[in-house]
Symmetry: C2
Subunit: 188 residues, 2 copies
DNA sequence: CCGTCATATATCGGCTTGATATATGACGGA
DNA sequence: TCCGTCATATATCAAGCCGATATATGACGG
């Protein structure tokens, strides 16, 4: 999905400012499967406004800078639905964690263990934050997103907790793993 | 990780051409957690070659166009390890599937069911392809990547198979779900 | 008083992507 | 036999995106 559609989707949930839309991608329900930067959100909102897909209202605030509040128009709703009807692109996952784990034979074992411990903490924190949210009043699709997300995070957490001992911890006196290079080509 | 590091990592596994490196990201072990396009791979290989981090050899082929084979240099190995030592960036996940599922109250229920069915097929196919690979001879980190990946795909598959019935299938005579709009703002 | 953080909008250089271009050869259908 | 499609192979570029930067108000803690 391009940033225009992401913004339309965010505004479908309720009127919001550019800053709030960014927060929705960083901390809100979308944070697990979409992202967008200020560098693309503000220009996209400008274009959407010019095309009549969103309305923009300037709002003064106390003790805070003024803000621009965007609201989806009827035309914008139709364009959002149209975008949802297009065939989905494949997922794109970029994970430094997996990349580092994959090449961890090049790293000191304690650094790999630290990497895994931090990942475990990340899963624990994410699961807690998602558990604090009760999705039973949400639309069905959102419930499935929540449930599938929880399943992914929980099974990942369980797996890492079961397998983290393969790498030595801080207090461990295990000898470092031997660094052996992988043989063979990339693609058979 | 930037594309230079991705290429160095790919070449750490063995010499390869630009085309083969792209294949490694599309179909090889990295395909689950990294990607890069020709548009960035070829320029990156050029720069790496200029900087002496990789060597390049032109190879003629029968019944196929000539190819340039790249090989990691000692200097390149050191730069790769250096990059692996830097703190990892957070994962970035972009999923049209989750986005469409989230807004599925805007879609005809059968289209959502089709989306889920296709996702199930994707998981089944991915699990099969990963099962055909025996990771027991790999470095420990690669084994954990394989195992964690399998866990994620399997638990996702199980969850969707258990919950797909919430949406009507092709043969179902269930009435369409009511389209109710979500209330409230994005971020509490 | 100053540095940091949150809130708020906005821009831009650099990087990446997806499309396009060119080329060889295999393969299947008309 | 010809043509379209696919795989293999290198390469480039316009468009889009990101991360950094800029500016601003106010709270808060040292």
């Amino acid at each position: 999905m391009d940033v225009r559609t992401l913004c339309l989707g965010a505004l479908y949930l309720g009127e919001a400012s550019g800053y709030e839309i960014k927060k929705a991608f960083e901390e809100g329900p979308f944070s697990h499967f979409q992202d967008a930067s200020f560098g693309s959100i503000y220009p996209a909102l400008g274009r959407l406004s010019n095309e009549g897909l969103v309305d923009c209202t300037q709002m003064a605030q106390e003790k805070r800078p003024d803000k621009k509040v965007y609201r989806l128009t009827e035309k914008g709703s139709l364009v959002l639905i149209e975008s949802l009807m297009t065939p989905p692109a494949p997922d794109k996952v970029t994970s430094d964690f997996f990349f580092l784990l994959y090449f961890s034979d090049l790293l000191p074992p304690r650094q790999t263990r630290q990497l895994i411990d931090k990942r475990i903490a990340f899963y624990q924190d994410t699961i807690k934050r998602m558990s604090d949210c009760d999705p039973s009043t949400f639309p069905l699709g959102q419930q499935l997103c929540h449930g599938l997300g929880m399943t992914i995070y929980k099974s990942s957490l369980d797996y890492l907790e079961q397998h983290k001992h393969a790498f030595p911890g801080e207090a461990s006196s295990l000898p470092p793993l031997s660094n052996s290079k992988t043989s063979g080509r990339l693609v058979s």
